[in-house]
Structures are given as structure tokens and as C-alpha cells.
């Protein structure tokens, strides 16, 4: 029963970001660059990143209309937004209000340890897995697709971008079910994995991955 605290300095992209999002606390130095950038290699976050954003959106909506919150997270991931600083990452929703930002990076580990000790001493218990998460659902998927269709028709995105965006919308909205349907965390994790495998089996995603490994730069295809 020990708390987990992520100490972040510099780049935390994709999987790094997902680890941060699952820790009880994050402590990030101001010069941190945090984001979910999987679409750059033709994939979507599939280690709980989508799940965590959907969960946060549901919490923020407080039982009201979930769509504006989901749309914001969808757009961040679909356009591979990276925080230009730790505070910007907080604005983007990758860091939470309870996460700490330190200006001096040499104090990072010190603050992280303090946080860890404080959490432990105050009787830390890990949260239960959320079991009743309302989803944005199939109407939200269609509405997000509507926006992407216009970008596709306007030649701002490619067919493959549209496919990736559609898969992301599908996952983050909880799949082809009614708005407000209740699901658990595993539901999202299953959707993530399914979409990830589907995308990875396409030639264009494989080309993006290969290109990134060889050149370090994203391929637009």
C-alpha cells in the first residue's frame, strides 16, 4: 500500500505521459514537455491514456453534458498536443490540479520525496478502480467524425489521419453505445487495445512507425 509519485523533468511523451497520468501524484519541473503524441506514428494511446482522459472528462462534467470535455481531450490527442511547460500540460489536462510543479529542477526529487512521504504518512490507500463511468457514446463519436469529415474534405487531413481520428473518437467516447451508458475502466482498456492492434495492422501506420524509427521525424501519409 505505497503511493506512487512521478517525478517529471523534460520529455514525457506517449507512454511517459501515460505513466504520469496513472500515478497518485506527479511532480514536474516547469521545463517539462508532456503529451500524448501516438497519432504521430499512426497509433492511439493504449496504456490507459484514453481511459484516463475519459475518466477525467466524466469527473469534470459532474453529471452534465460530457461532450465539451471529451471533445477537448480528443482534440489534444488527435493533434498530438504537447505542453510547452508543465503548467501548459496542466491546462491541456495531462497534469491535474493536485499535481505539483517546481520551478527549480534541482528541487524536483526533494519535492517528490516530500510528496511521497506525506501521502504515505497520511494513510494512503490506492483508489478503487472506477466501475461506473458514464461515456459520451455513439452520438459524440459521430459529432467528432463530422468535424473530421470537413477537414478531410478540405484536404487538411489524410484518409489515414481520419481513420486514426475515428478510432480515437471511438475509444475515448466509450464505443458504439448510448450516451451516459455506464462502463468500467477495463471497458476502455479493451477498446484501446482493440483500436491499437487494428491501426498497427495497417500498412500506413507501419510506415509511420518505421519512418519515425529511422529518421526521428513523423511521416504524413
Amino acid at each position: 500500500m505505497v503511493p506512487t509519485v512521478a517525478a517529471v523533468d523534460g520529455m514525457a511523451l506517449g507512454g511517459g505521459c501515460e505513466i504520469i497520468m496513472h500515478c497518485d501524484r506527479a511532480v514536474a519541473s516547469l521545463e517539462s514537455y508532456i503529451g500524448l503524441v501516438e497519432v504521430g506514428v499512426g497509433l492511439i494511446p493504449a496504456a490507459g491514456g484514453c481511459k484516463e482522459l475519459a475518466l477525467r472528462a466524466a469527473g469534470e462534467a459532474k453529471g452534465g453534458d460530457l461532450f465539451p470535455f471529451i471533445r477537448r481531450y480528443f482534440e489534444n490527442v488527435a493533434t498530438a498536443q504537447v505542453g510547452r511547460s508543465a503548467e501548459h500540460a496542466r491546462e491541456l489536462g495531462f497534469l491535474r490540479d493536485r499535481d505539483a510543479v517546481v520551478i527549480n529542477r534541482f528541487e524536483l526529487l526533494y519535492v517528490a520525496k516530500q510528496q511521497l512521504n506525506a501521502r504515505y504518512e497520511s494513510g494512503y490507500r490506492p483508489p478503487l478502480r472506477a466501475a461506473r463511468i458514464p461515456v459520451a457514446g455513439r452520438g459524440a463519436i459521430a459529432t467528432l467524425k463530422m468535424g473530421m469529415q470537413n477537414m478531410l474534405a478540405g484536404d487538411y487531413v489524410s484518409d489515414h489521419d481520419y481513420l486514426i481520428g475515428s478510432k480515437l473518437a471511438h475509444v475515448i467516447c466509450g464505443g458504439d453505445i448510448d450516451q451516459g451508458s455506464l462502463v468500467d475502466e477495463q471497458w476502455f482498456l479493451d477498446l484501446e487495445r482493440e483500436a491499437f492492434i487494428e491501426l498497427l495492422s495497417t500498412e500506413k501506420t507501419q510506415a509511420r512507425v518505421e519512418h519515425m524509427l529511422k529518421t526521428g521525424k513523423p511521416l504524413r501519409n
Partner: protein, 400 residues
């Protein structure tokens, strides 16, 4: 082919000025108040008619929600001090709503079931954006490629028309420049003075120094959209807004606007009873459907449909108010039907004058009626394209 029992005549037509949205003169003016203003202005043109004699008020509104929701027709007329006995209905066919309202009002009379009707339109695009406050798409739109056009924004449909009908950028920009030129000339020569009822805007702001509310009255009497200095050089510098390599820009598209218009219609009986001066006879109205992804071409099919219905020849129509949703679709329609450019929008169009969606039909009917009277034209038309792929056209005969 008409089986009407009596004719419907327009006996009054008035409108508010059109403001720019979302940051124009009417940004804080509610659409129900704009509607009430237009209704009152039209009523003052026929002082012999008691308000209580109006059978029904049909109001077009394209995004009937929030400030213009809850049946804006009824709320607007009650706040404009019509008696409780006068009823109201809001109708929506997007950009043709205002014209459709006039047609529905006329039909109640033509059927012999009413003697005095009002057809109107109101829209605040400052308060309710295009698409409304919340869009939720039906996922079946994407089930096959056939329905995907429903998802397209109007700009994309304009790009598709520009491509398919081969309307180049420079032609679109030149068309837009001409729209501004005509509108500015019309304002200078007072062409809109008969139809516009000036609106006094009373913006209320907090004066933090004096700790009190300051009310700033501002009389608006001209359309805000027409822009002096609009040249092809200026427009050529604008970037396409809907497609990466497109030709449709903010400069060759209609403006988003706020405004309202109202037209009073009466039967022969009512005209005789009140000794009214009819301005125009309502001849007919038609709507036609086209693929949603090329909605801008709609008038190409609505115009022949209404001409056939009324047995009137295109060359006999002296004045055509063709809503300039986009220069691209306007030119495609004009070229395909061989419309005379001089007769289309002689006082400018929506690119200069603005396009408050559901109000436009009523506003442009008002422009047409007064314009035909001044120029002694006989037949005039109001036509427009409609989102999700339709076109509408209404035909009027000057009898003033």
C-alpha cells in the same frame, strides 16, 4: 395550376438594419426584440389595421434555440405588444425560413382561411452560432458514403460547387467586389430607406469609476456589412478558410449577421375593408432538393420550378434577389440558368449586406417589394440555397 380561392397581397414590408455578427452593432440585441421591432415597423405602414386583426404570425428562424428558442414568433409578438389573441409559429428551413414564412402566411390567405397574416424572419448569429449551441450528429451519416454530405459545413459545399462548376477564385472575388459596390451605391442613394426601420441599440455597461450603469443609445439605420475599399486586390490576399487549396474565402462568402424582417399580407376582402394599398401580389413559392454536398446549386432547380408553377417566363422577371451564400454558388446558378447579372441583386447581396440565416428571406422580400415599386418592375423573385441541399424561390408581382 394554383387552386387558390383568393389572392394574397403584400401590404407592408419592413426590416431592421442588418448588423455584423458576432461583434457588430446588434451583438447585445436579442432576436425576439429585433423581430418585435420589424413587426411594429411593418404595422405602422398600415395604420388602418388593428393588431388584433392579424390572424397569425409566421416567423422564420434557422437556429431556433436559446435566445431565439421557445417559439420566438409568439414571444416576439407578445413583447411587441400584440394582443394575446394573435398567435405565432416559428418555422425553419435554414436559409429560406424567412421566405418560407411569407409563403406559408400567403397560403393561409390563398386558401381562404385568413385575411391578414404576417410572414417574418429573425436571426441573431451573434447569440446563436451556425449549427446552434450543440450539434450532435447521427452516426448513420457515416455508415456509407451516400450521406456523408450531411456532415459537410457550408464552406465545404461551396468548395465542391466551385470545383464541379469550375468557378475560379478571381471570378468569385470580382463577384464579391461588385456586391459591395452595388450595396454601397444603394446606401448612398437611399435605396434602403423605405424598408429599413432604424433601431436604437441601448448597450448597458458598468462604469467602474462612477459605480453605476451607463446606457449608451445608438441609432442604427444602415446595414453594417458593406465595406468601402473592397477591391479584388484586397480580396486576393485572403486565404481560403474551408479547404487547404480552396478558393472560398471570408471575402467571397456571405457575412454572418443579425437582423429581422416582416411582411404583412392581406386578402382582397381585407384590402377593401381597410382601404389598403397593395404593394405586390404573391404568385408562388417552390422548393427543390439537391445533393447536400452541393447545396449551393439549389436555386438552379427551385427557380424553374416556381416559374413553371406560376407560368411566368424567366425573361419577364425584372429583379432577382439571389442570396449570395457564396460567390461560387451564386455564379454557378447565374451561369447555368443564364440569369441577367444586371437583374440579380441590383442593390448588392449577402456578401456585402450580410445573411442573418432565417431572417434573410423576409428581409430580401422587403427589399424586392420596395425596389420593384420604385422602379416600376412587374415581376420579382427571391431565391436562395439551403443547407443540407435545397433551393427555394418565391415569385411576386408588383401591383403598387
Amino acid at each position: 395550376m394554383s387552386k387558390q380561392v383568393q389572392d394574397a397581397y403584400i401590404v407592408a414590408a419592413a426590416r431592421s438594419p442588418v448588423g455584423k455578427a458576432p461583434r457588430g452593432v446588434f451583438r447585445h440585441v436579442r432576436p425576439d426584440d429585433l423581430l418585435g421591432h420589424a413587426l411594429n415597423a411593418a404595422m405602422t405602414q398600415v395604420p388602418a389595421v388593428e393588431r388584433g386583426e392579424v390572424d397569425d404570425v409566421v416567423v422564420g428562424c434557422a437556429m431556433p434555440e436559446a435566445e431565439q428558442g421557445m417559439n420566438v414568433a409568439r414571444i416576439g409578438l407578445l413583447l411587441a405588444d400584440f394582443p394575446n389573441s394573435v398567435s405565432g409559429i416559428t418555422v425553419n428551413r435554414f436559409c429560406s425560413s424567412g421566405l418560407n414564412a411569407v409563403a406559408i402566411a400567403a397560403d393561409r390567405i390563398r386558401l381562404g382561411e385568413a385575411d391578414i397574416m404576417i410572414g417574418a424572419g429573425t436571426e441573431s448569429m451573434s447569440m446563436i452560432p451556425m449549427g446552434g449551441n450543440k450539434i450532435v450528429a447521427n452516426e448513420r451519416i457515416f455508415a456509407d458514403s451516400e450521406h456523408v454530405g450531411i456532415a459537410y459545413g457550408m464552406g465545404i459545399t461551396a468548395e465542391k460547387v466551385a470545383q464541379q462548376w469550375k468557378v475560379p477564385r478571381d471570378a468569385q472575388d470580382a463577384f464579391a467586389v461588385e456586391s459591395h459596390r452595388r450595396a454601397l451605391t444603394a446606401i448612398e442613394t437611399g435605396e434602403f430607406e423605405d424598408e429599413i426601420a432604424p433601431y436604437t441599440v441601448r448597450d448597458r455597461i458598468a462604469d467602474l469609476e462612477r459605480r453605476e450603469i451607463v446606457e449608451q443609445p445608438n441609432v442604427v439605420s444602415v446595414d453594417e456589412g458593406p465595406r468601402p475599399g473592397t477591391t479584388t486586390d484586397v480580396l486576393a490576399g485572403l486565404r481560403p478558410v474551408f479547404a487547404a487549396k480552396g478558393t472560398v474565402t471570408a471575402g467571397n462568402s456571405s457575412q454572418t449577421s443579425d437582423g429581422a424582417g416582416a411582411v404583412i399580407l392581406a386578402s382582397d376582402t381585407a384590402i377593401k375593408r381597410h382601404n389598403l394599398q397593395p404593394l405586390a401580389r404573391f404568385l408562388g413559392f417552390a422548393v427543390a432538393g439537391v445533393p447536400p454536398e452541393i447545396m449551393g446549386i439549389g436555386p438552379k432547380f427551385a427557380i424553374p420550378k416556381v416559374l413553371k408553377q406560376t407560368d411566368i417566363k424567366l425573361e419577364d422577371v425584372d429583379w432577382i434577389e439571389l442570396n449570395e451564400a457564396f460567390a461560387a454558388q451564386s455564379l454557378a446558378v447565374i451561369n447555368d440558368l443564364g440569369l441577367n447579372r444586371e437583374r440579380v441583386n441590383p442593390l448588392g447581396g449577402a456578401i456585402a449586406l450580410g445573411h442573418p440565416l432565417g431572417a434573410t428571406g423576409a428581409i430580401r422580400t422587403t427589399t424586392l417589394i420596395h425596389g420593384m415599386r420604385r422602379r416600376k418592375h412587374r415581376y420579382g423573385m427571391v431565391t436562395m440555397c439551403i443547407g443540407t441541399g435545397m433551393g427555394a424561390a418565391g415569385l411576386f408581382e408588383n401591383v403598387s
